[in-house]
Symmetry: C4
Subunit: 220 residues, 4 copies
């Protein structure tokens, strides 16, 4: 199976899912008091922003994982397909969550629904990682063994973090939204993938990245 | 005609059609009993999941067929365009099917409509395959002749399977949805394309796939 | 300007516009008489199919034109952007046309609106072609001069054909839809681009296309 | 981080955001007086056209900036992600703006909302540019130093221009829409990127662009 075409297909699905999020923000019902109507939709806007960051950072992690694979097989394709199924689904709970916050009705249920979707998603990330990395099945030979174990711990911990978000949802829907924003930031500054890059400089195209370049990112 | 650009265009269409499926799940009407409302939409969610798998596996088969073509001509472009027309259409019967199951009205009609769409789609797959393979018109020289005959039999059988799904739709709409999920799984584990890969190892990039690699997929 | 990235961007826009067409088919209002409701939507389905073919064949012609360009400049980028603006717009008049036919109200106006959109689009195709080809500004050196003149005549004639479709719209909306389907087929079997290919075999990758191959398409 | 995949992902997001704009034009409510109904939607069509040009020209500038970068790091990825978040959002204020003009209610508020979105977007462009160019962090070595300073001045001036558009919105909503169209044209004919190209001919592939070619664009 051609790794490049699977990446291109996945990139397309990520790009479309992230763009469809804009349709989750409900249009104003009246235009006579438009400023007030738009102000009321701030929670929908916040849900849009959080889900946008979540999908954008997932794209980045997808990209990082695939850059460490030496090939893609049918099994990985199916894990990837299931993963994409939950990512494509994200606009739906996002719309429900935003709308529930706007209306002030069912917000707790909507927050649980959103968190449950993210938990299933986190489990599929862990599954995809385990499929690719156990026994170094599909990993690049340059990927350091110590890093493989750390990444496995972190992917499994991720399912726990998202499980906790269901509990937060039961306490307070706004706290739950903030919690998901925080988790996105956590993954954004994830020290792992950078460290991997630094430990395996062989991944960086040497002609383009001069040594000592201060702002280069190792996980290229 | 540039084979790469036809593949890129097709990949884009597949990626968008699979992502638009999320718009087929109706938003809750009321938020005062949100959990109940979301629970009622489970059949729409099931229709979403089945159609997602169907389109994802179609993408995989499209990819496999094109990897065995040595070139693309205008005739194949038009078969491909008609095929894409039915794939892009899938969200429509999916929405109708899911909504009919949710409402408990017109479910049999909706199941027949869904199955008929899939049958037309299966006929176009068979047509595209016959166009490309009869007389080995566009096939790669490495593609084994015995495999060509087996694939032809299976593509024609596929139109029959989907024809049968129309009958299943008349019996029970839920059984029909399960039948389509089963057909998707059948194509997912399709032994043909793997066997082809194994018989023509010349297709695999030798430096990346070491011989004896346990989880490699032959149909690369 | 990088020709490849302009093509990729354009391919993406084509792929999304063609896929959004499925949203133009209105969902059934009632599910108690679903078969009847779906039958009533046949004109929307016909408008979907015609617009799908139109955009698909436009993609093919876009691809053919760009394969004959040796470079892309800012001027061509803006012609291309205006062209894409009318192509992205096509789902709107398609939905209006289909809905007007379904309701049996305003069909003549809708047909004129659809035809006018296509006429503006045809003018932009002619403008893009003239910009690229006058004085052979951006044309490949292999593109034969005789073919340049013939293509110019045909592009200008195309604006006339679409202008005629406005007249057909005033006579009968269904005839107008059929006329657009026929124009799409005319462009699909367009003898020009094939002839160009045959006259300039240098464009075909020689290793892949053996001489005497019966079904090869010259316009690669 | 692979620059090519970030560009492909961004191109996909641009292509989808520009295509979703067509969904911002409201469908006619009645079909008995369709011509009148369509005529009433002209302001929505104008908002569509302006936003289409804005996003198309942003794509071009994105392309130009990235062509001057020698690499992409995580920091730039996040600036790019925030930038894309505001670009994907554009269809929402476009729909609100067009609808407010059609209804003749809330047009001033909608114009301010549209202008504010564009101002945030301009700030993110400036931020992304400063991140990439201060200390020549990610710039290509061929990019002339004098040009770097001029570009910085222009990006910062851009945030001012868009700030002014908020004032214009308070005066007259139609003038505001025209002002945004004018700003798009200003960036379309932006003399900077062309001059850069001319000063650094090393960026142009020499075999394809013969010297003295009259219509070539230097910023390739």
């Amino acid at each position: 199976m051609n790794k490049g075409r699977v990446e291109t297909f996945s990139d397309g699905v990520f790009a479309i899912a992230i763009t469809l999020l804009v349709l989750t923000i409900g249009q104003p019902g009246r235009y006579s008091d438009l400023a007030h109507q738009l102000g009321q939709r701030l929670p929908s806007l916040a849900a849009y922003a959080v889900s946008f960051l979540v999908i954008g950072i997932m794209w980045l992690n997808h990209h990082t994982i695939f850059s460490h694979l030496r090939q893609v097989d049918r099994g990985l394709f199916y894990w990837n397909l299931l993963l994409l199924m939950t990512i494509v689904f994200i606009p739906y709970p996002t719309e429900v969550f935003g709308e529930a916050l706007v209306r002030g009705q069912g917000a707790r249920t909507a927050a649980v629904f959103y968190s449950a979707t993210m938990t299933v998603n986190a489990c599929l990330w862990a599954g995809l990682w385990l499929y690719a990395s156990v026994g170094r099945r599909l990993l690049n030979s340059q990927f350091p063994e110590s890093q493989r174990r750390t990444s496995t711990v972190l992917f499994i911990a991720g399912t726990g973090f998202y499980g906790v978000s269901i509990g937060v949802a039961l306490l307070n829907p706004y706290a739950c939204l903030a919690f998901h924003g925080g988790l996105a930031l956590y993954y954004a500054f994830d020290p792992i993938s950078r460290r991997v890059g630094r430990e395996s400089p062989v991944l960086a195209p040497p002609a383009v990245v001069p040594p000592g370049e201060p702002h280069q990112d190792g996980a290229q």
